[in-house]
């Protein structure tokens, strides 16, 4: 966005995008671990409500939702504990992502992180 050009006597409309980027502190976790889920924004005022949902990569049932967060100094960093007992976990796949809704703005998927949710196979 470098600016808007427009002639006189005409209503000139312009849009400035709100931007959001998602980051996570780890790329691999175990059940019971903590992971920091971070939302960085541009042109989003402080105090804007943020809701984070965690779901399997590629889609599927939402595993968990975190609400009650808000933007402060262009950032939300939420330390999330992976405690998924009783959550609707996928039957296959260990790769997960999170998404954020910031006001009306919906983010893309975050980079994925692996969670070992399958019981380990031990040799006899």
């Amino acid at each position: 966005m470098t600016g808007f050009l427009g002639p006189h006597n005409v209503p000139n409309k312009g849009k400035i995008p709100k931007v959001t980027l998602l980051f996570r502190s780890r790329s691999r976790c175990w059940h019971g671990d903590q992971i920091s889920l971070m939302v960085v924004t541009e042109n989003v005022p402080d105090g804007t409500a943020v809701e984070i949902t965690i779901l399997p990569k590629g889609g599927g049932a939402v595993i968990d939702t975190v609400s009650g967060l808000s933007i402060k100094n262009h950032l939300v960093a939420h330390v999330y504990k992976i405690d998924w007992k009783g959550k609707p976990l996928p039957k296959t796949g260990h790769e997960f992502v999170f998404k954020a809704v910031i006001g009306k703005l919906k983010s893309d998927e975050s980079p994925s992180f692996l969670v070992d949710i399958t019981p380990p196979l031990l040799s006899a």
Binding site: F4, N12, F23, R26, N43, P45, L75
Partner: protein, 405 residues
């Protein structure tokens, strides 16, 4: 009668002799000394764009010949010259009436100053700015640049998102905002010990305005930045800074990607992650000295593989930070033995196996048990999580050895 445009402000009319005799026609026809004189006149006239077409049509009007299309330009001129010399056709040249250029002021128009004031009173300019979802962006500072490029007005966006001015000169207006955007790295990768530019668009700020950059590991944007860099808006209205990541500054990284945030006033912009790499230098030699230029394949602990050609026995490979050499191959030297001497590590010897072999031959491994392979995997995981211990360096060397085995 046909009209042609002559030199300057002249009108050239061709008239039938019969019309010249009409009462009231006071024009004096041009007299030609001979047929050649008339032909020269026509040639000069015919040189103008499209004029020959007009002369052909003139000949068609004054001739009963139906084969004009087949006549050359010279033949057309000859035949018209004959008519002019014979006075069957006359040509009259008169001065064109002067017409004032369009921009000239008419006598009944108001003087320029008054006109400008009138235009100013009639015009307004309006921008309506929202986010891409149609919502207002209150409190954003704007700068409205007038068509002259010099006059500027400033303000803050309200809830209606409108920027408007009345009684303004006509023309194209530019609306800029005092925000930074489009933060980007100057290079596609960040290299240890090499300066990288940090850039962000800052169209609404004047050249020289200060800004700040904060560089983070992409897994720790909520933590203390790795570095803070001062920036300045350049003549192209881009906030610009430079950072040279030292080995010391990045020694504790747990991932190999970085981001930065550009900050000016209350605004910020965040870059996309960039991979940080470090240069691994190799010296290749055999018992006769530096090895002739050859292809080298190096694979690192995260699976990253680099293929390059050595020059004069030397080779530089850029490797994502934190990765360790897992194995190295010289496809042009299969069947030979390779000794790897790394700084601060024991020399290791490998056999370069044929790529067609189903399995690589055993390496010169002191312990060679299977458990090392799982150790290597665990070590990789720990790197990712930032829990690597002090033994990592040694483990990494073992990992490389075991990957060969």
């Amino acid at each position: 009668m046909r009209h042609f445009r002559g030199d300057g402000w002249q009108k050239i009319e061709f008239l039938d002799r019969s019309k010249m005799l009409l009462p009231g026609h006071a024009a004096t026809p041009v007299k030609f000394h001979d047929r050649v004189d008339a032909a020269n006149f026509l040639r000069r006239l015919g040189a103008a764009t499209g004029a020959m077409t007009g002369l052909r049509e003139l000949l068609g009007e004054t001739s009963d010949s139906g084969a004009l299309a087949l006549s050359t330009d010279g033949e057309v001129i000859d035949r018209l010259a004959a008519q002019l010399y014979a006075r069957a056709l006359e040509v009259v040249i008169t001065a064109r009436p002067k017409v004032s250029p369009p921009q000239a002021r008419q006598e009944d128009e108001p003087p320029p100053k008054a006109k400008q004031q009138e235009e100013k009173a009639d015009q307004d300019v309006e921008f309506v700015i929202t986010d891409h979802l149609g919502d207002a962006l209150p409190d954003l500072e704007w700068v409205l640049v007038y068509p002259d490029g010099k006059t500027k007005k400033t303000g803050k966006l309200g809830e209606d998102g409108k920027v408007s001015q009345t009684s303004v000169p006509p023309g194209s207006y530019q609306l800029l905002f005092k925000i930074v955007s489009a933060a980007r790295w100057g290079d596609s990768r960040v290299q240890v010990d090499k300066e990288v530019k940090l850039l962000a668009t800052a169209a609404g700020f004047d050249p020289g305005a200060p800004g700040k950059f904060e560089i983070f590991e992409s897994s720790a944007v909520d933590k203390k930045p790795l570095a803070r860099v001062d920036g300045k808006v350049n003549a192209s209205r881009v906030l610009e800074g430079a950072w040279t990541p030292t080995k010391d500054a990045v020694k504790d990284l747990t991932t190999s990607t970085l981001v930065f945030q550009a900050r000016m006033a209350a605004s910020n912009a965040v870059s996309s992650p960039a991979e940080i790499v470090i240069k691994h230098s190799f010296e290749l030699e055999d018992d006769k000295g530096p090895l002739a230029d050859t292809t080298v394949v190096a694979r690192f602990s995260d699976g990253h593989e680099a293929t390059a050609t050595s020059k004069g026995g030397k080779l530089d490979i850029l490797v994502p930070l934190g990765q360790k050499l897992a194995w190295i191959d010289l496809p042009d030297h299969t069947g030979g033995h390779l000794t790897v001497e790394a700084e601060g590590d024991e020399a290791r010897e490998y056999l370069l196996w044929e790529s067609s072999d189903e399995s690589p031959p055993p390496a010169d491994d002191s312990d060679g048990d299977e458990s090392d392979e799982s150790d290597a995997e665990d070590e990789s995981d720990e790197d990712e999580d930032g829990e690597a211990d002090e033994d990592d360096e040694d483990d990494g060397a073992d990992e490389g050895e075991d990957a060969n085995a």
